[in-house]
């Protein structure tokens, strides 16, 4: 099954790294969308179907926590699972994300396996083999 996955992070390199990680995890054929902050993500979601959101916390305009809360207030978005990928890794902060409705949490710096494990738990194993020849076969942190 192919998914539509939205990556929300103000860092262009980090969005690229997460995309690469998703490809290495077998989600390369999925539709990978990008937004630079929560506000941009909400606008994009109004016009695009999204199965999973991967978001940073510390972003300008609208941070990850405000973004999750805004999503959960809207009928259309409230059932979309959200994985937080952030440097903010203390337990109090993680509890805050989970209470707001996050489905998973990965702390930066991360390994490809950490991202893969949490996404597989939510979406299930990617059953599509990525055949694009972009050198990702050897990718590993």
């Amino acid at each position: 099954m192919l998914y539509s996955i939205l990556i929300v992070d103000d860092s262009l390199p980090m969005r690229a790294v997460i995309k690469r990680t998703l490809k290495a995890a077998g989600y390369g054929a999925s539709h990978l969308l990008e937004a630079a902050n929560g506000e941009e993500a909400l606008a994009l979601m109004k016009n695009s179907w999204v199965d999973l959101v991967i978001t940073d916390y510390n972003m300008p305009v609208m941070d990850g926590l405000a973004f999750i809360k805004a999503m959960k207030e809207q009928d259309l978005f409230q059932d979309i699972p959200v994985v937080v990928v952030s440097t903010e890794g203390n337990q109090a902060r993680i509890d805050e994300f989970m209470k707001a409705g996050a489905a998973g949490y990965v702390t930066k710096p991360f390994t490809a396996e950490a991202i893969r494990d949490v996404i597989v738990t939510i979406l299930g194993e990617a059953d599509y083999e990525d055949t694009t020849d972009d050198g990702d076969e050897d990718f590993d942190f």
């Binding site: 262009l12 690229a16 790294v17 510390n58 440097t87 702390t107």
Partner: protein
Amino acid sequence: MKTQLMTEMKTSISEVMETMFFLPVEFGQTIVLSRAGLDVQDTMACKLAFSGDISGQVILAAPESLVLEMAENFMGEPRDQLTREHLTGTLQEMLNMVCGNALRNTQASTPFELGIPEIINLSEIAQDDQFHIIDTDMSKLGMLLKTD
């Protein structure tokens, strides 16, 4: 607490540089940037403020050639396809991960708040600021921790 934070910063730099950028590091002397052998004309710098039990800012200074190597390793993209935005974003993300990781491991009664990393001009750094010099295989970078 500043001593503990500095120890965590060094540990964090090692972890982030090795895990995300595949560049092992060694810590050298503490010295002003102009005497560290860094090419000031070619150096990029980034600042990140934090607040909590202890507040302050961390500045990282690195030669553009090293940031290019880091971006290439981080993103897995050939360097001829990397733009200025990729380089500044890589340095900002590196500092964000270093600080977040270090502050998370620092014993604190309340969670720290991190600002947004910002690229700064070297002229914003005081001439007498003492940087911790970090050696990589290809060049040096400097880290400055300032507390309020």
